[in-house]
């Protein structure tokens, strides 16, 4: 009400910041953490460090974006890590050989993730099961399929693709002989850009940004805020939920594809799948998405994932015992969520706490 009565209209940016405190807070935290990291790093602010860092962040960023889709509708997907593992095993079988085979393999990999997400969505929407428990079960199925495909770690992902996707744009151009092996004059200013960073940005821009603007995309937020109100407003609830879980599968498929390309192999590693799922929840929370639904964006989840990764980078340069990593990660997570708890101290009507 106060904003309506003030005569002066706030600028779009101020309003955006006011409405998305969690997201901008995460962005600020990431910027501070990463700049300090680069000051501490002996080779800080260099392209190589940047490339190596982005490389290690892509898979988690995609998994976090997958998780974001389902958390925004007020659900949770405990199968994202397993679907990532499944698709990375598929990719380790298919992404090799002739160029057309490689492209075909990449498409099949992402399609497999999408299909698995669709199955999750159908079970949850038409079977009317709780997402958390349904995806717990489908996650086990995905893990089983991954073990069927790859009983032992291995696989030979195309080496050119591995090199091109995990280095700078110049290396990409050299590998595939584009722009006179990356020597064109116009190409030089952007030649240092890490390919993994571009992959993250492109996938987020191509999938999330247009989707958010559709009716289906807006419905995600409506469902997360109040499913009953969304239903009474005639919004396409079932369709939106199906899309949310399907797109979660797509992002998980992208994560699996990149993981396979990055490591050059597939590995049906159950603890690793679990770790990615749990980290994706942590990333979503750090990125300003409410676990109750209706608040936040997939971009926020991406930022949250990057924060988690940057924290882990500190262990190397500060020569902290890597054994302490999970302790520090846990404390950071608890502190971050406890900051949000400050509001509970300000609440005057205690009933508001119970929603």
């Amino acid at each position: 009400m106060t904003t309506a009565s003030t005569p002066r209209r706030e600028s779009a940016l101020v309003m955006s910041i006011r409405q998305n405190r969690g997201f901008y807070g995460a962005l600020l935290l990431l910027a501070v953490l990463y700049i300090v990291y680069n000051f501490l790093h002996p080779k800080g602010f260099s392209t190589n460090v940047f490339i190596a860092n982005t490389n290690e962040s892509v898979a988690l960023a995609f998994v976090a974006m997958a998780q974001a889709m389902t958390v925004i509708v007020g659900g949770l997907d405990l199968s994202v890590g397993s679907v990532m593992t499944l698709t990375s095993c598929i990719a380790s079988e298919l992404v090799r050989g002739e160029p057309w085979q490689i492209v075909f393999g990449c498409l099949v990999t992402v399609a497999a993730g999408t299909g698995f997400g669709l199955v999750n969505g159908v079970i949850i929407v038409y079977g009317r099961l709780q997402p958390i428990i349904a995806t717990l079960a489908t996650g086990a199925v995905a893990m089983g399929l991954a073990l069927l495909i790859r009983p032992k770690p291995g696989g030979e992902v195309d080496l050119d693709l591995n090199w091109a996707a995990t280095n700078s744009l110049r290396d990409l151009a050299e590998t595939y002989h584009l722009f006179s092996d990356g020597e064109d004059a116009w190409f030089q200013p952007i030649a240092w850009v890490p390919v993994p960073l571009l992959i993250m940005i492109i996938v987020a821009a191509v999938i999330w940004v247009p989707f958010k603007r559709t009716v289906t995309g807006r419905t995600l937020y409506a469902i997360g805020s109040s499913e009953g109100a969304a239903f009474m407003s005639g919004l396409p609830i079932n369709r939106a939920r199906l899309w949310a879980f399907t797109l979660a599968g797509t992002f998980a498929g992208c994560a699996g594809l990149y993981l396979a390309i990055q490591t050059g192999s597939g590995n049906a590693d159950i603890p690793q799948a679990g770790a990615y799922t749990l980290n994706s929840i942590a990333a979503v929370v750090l990125g300003g998405i409410s676990l109750l639904g209706g608040v936040g964006t997939a971009i926020g989840a991406l930022i949250g994932a990057l924060i988690l990764r940057v924290i882990s980078f500190y262990f190397r340069i500060l020569s902290i015992d890597p054994l302490m990593q999970s302790l520090v990660e846990g404390i950071v997570l608890l502190l971050a969520v406890s900051l949000g708890a400050v509001r509970t101290l300000r609440v005057k009507n205690r009933l508001e706490l119970f929603r």
């Binding site: 079970i123 009317r128 086990a140 089983g144 603890p271 942590a282 054994l323 302490m324 608890l334």
Partner: protein, 320 residues
């Protein structure tokens, strides 16, 4: 629920009956398999079933605690490293102080979890996840990342691995904890308050229930159960080791939910959790008798949960 023609059953009992029926199906299928391949029916011998109950005791105790938390509509993801921490500290201290030390770990974890969820109002899923991570960090720092050399005390070994009158002691421990928890849930005002808070916390609060204490209490029960299971597991394998609790989190949630407890809280009977635990333990053992590779086990395990829930775990459509 009209699809199944069981009009005399209360809706809360239906899942339990179906799950119990499914246990018989598993036993029948397993017996048919062993009869056709080996010509014997080891599944139906008391000895075999008691061995299964012994390994099921660890999962059963974890599920007891998990159920009290799920009845509130919360979840406890800190169980794996609560188990491990309790087992490691118990074996490190050793002697008569071992078991009290382990229980103290469970109590502390439960109090911390309860404080974060009830007072700071942080979603339990994320808070207990953070606590789990912190516990893991503390234990890895404590042991240096290696398996600790200390062995379990005689009492822990006795409770986990010995037999009395042919029945494993672990089964008695499980039974004792089960009786206590089911009595607390069904007979005490604390138990009633758990159901009330799980149904609608605001209404429970307005009825004079100290809902925050109830939440802390439920997490303490969960922590104590996880600690007990961890120490028993250490007694069973004679030592504590890294990641010993990891295999218990998801099956515990699955057992509780298969037993008919709503993941949203407020509904579910304790007997259902027992049935759920037995179902999962038998399913696992039949699959291992059939020499099913890990891949097939995971797939069947997931499909069984989905199918069981599709039969009776469906939520109502939100229309207002």
């Amino acid at each position: 629920m009209a699809t199944l023609n069981l009009p005399h059953l209360k809706s809360d009992d239906l899942p339990i009956v179906i799950a119990a029926g499914f246990i018989l199906v598993i036993l029948a299928a397993g017996t048919a398999y062993t009869l056709s391949t080996l010509g014997t029916a080891p599944l139906l011998t008391p000895n075999y079933l008691l061995t299964q109950l012994q390994t099921g005791a660890f999962l059963g105790i974890v599920a007891c605690g998990m159920m009290t938390v799920i009845l509130l509509g919360h979840i406890d993801l800190s169980i794996p490293w609560t188990m491990t921490a309790a087992a490691m500290m118990a074996t490190t201290i050793g002697g008569p102080g071992a078991i009290p030390t382990g229980l103290a770990i469970g109590l502390i974890v439960g109090l911390v979890n309860g404080f974060g969820v009830a007072y700071l109002r942080i979603p339990s899923m994320i808070f207990t996840l953070g606590v789990d991570s912190v516990m893991r960090g503390l234990m890895v720092a404590h042991t240096g990342g290696f398996a600790p050399q200390d062995t379990a005390t005689d009492l822990m070994r006795y409770l986990a691995a010995e037999k009395v009158l042919g029945v494993p002691v672990a089964v008695f421990v499980w039974a004792a904890i089960s009786i206590v928890i089911s009595a607390v849930l069904a007979r005490t005002s604390f138990g009633k308050a758990i159901y009330a808070t799980g149904n609608r916390e605001a209404a429970a609060y307005l009825s004079g229930i100290r809902t925050r204490w109830i939440i802390v209490g439920a997490f303490v029960i969960s922590g104590l159960c996880a600690a007990s299971a961890g120490m028993l597991l250490a007694g069973y394998s004679n030592k504590a080791y890294q990641g010993m609790g990891n295999a218990y989190l998801l099956p515990a949630i699955a057992a509780v939910v298969i037993g008919g407890t709503s993941i949203l809280g407020g509904r579910g009977r304790f007997i259902g959790t027992l049935v759920g635990v037995i179902l999962i333990v038998l399913l696992n053992s039949v699959l291992s008798i059939a020499q099913m590779p890990e891949a097939g086990r995971q797939i069947i395990y997931g499909l069984v949960i989905i199918v069981m829930l599709l039969v009776y775990g469906r939520t109502t459509r939100v229309t207002s």
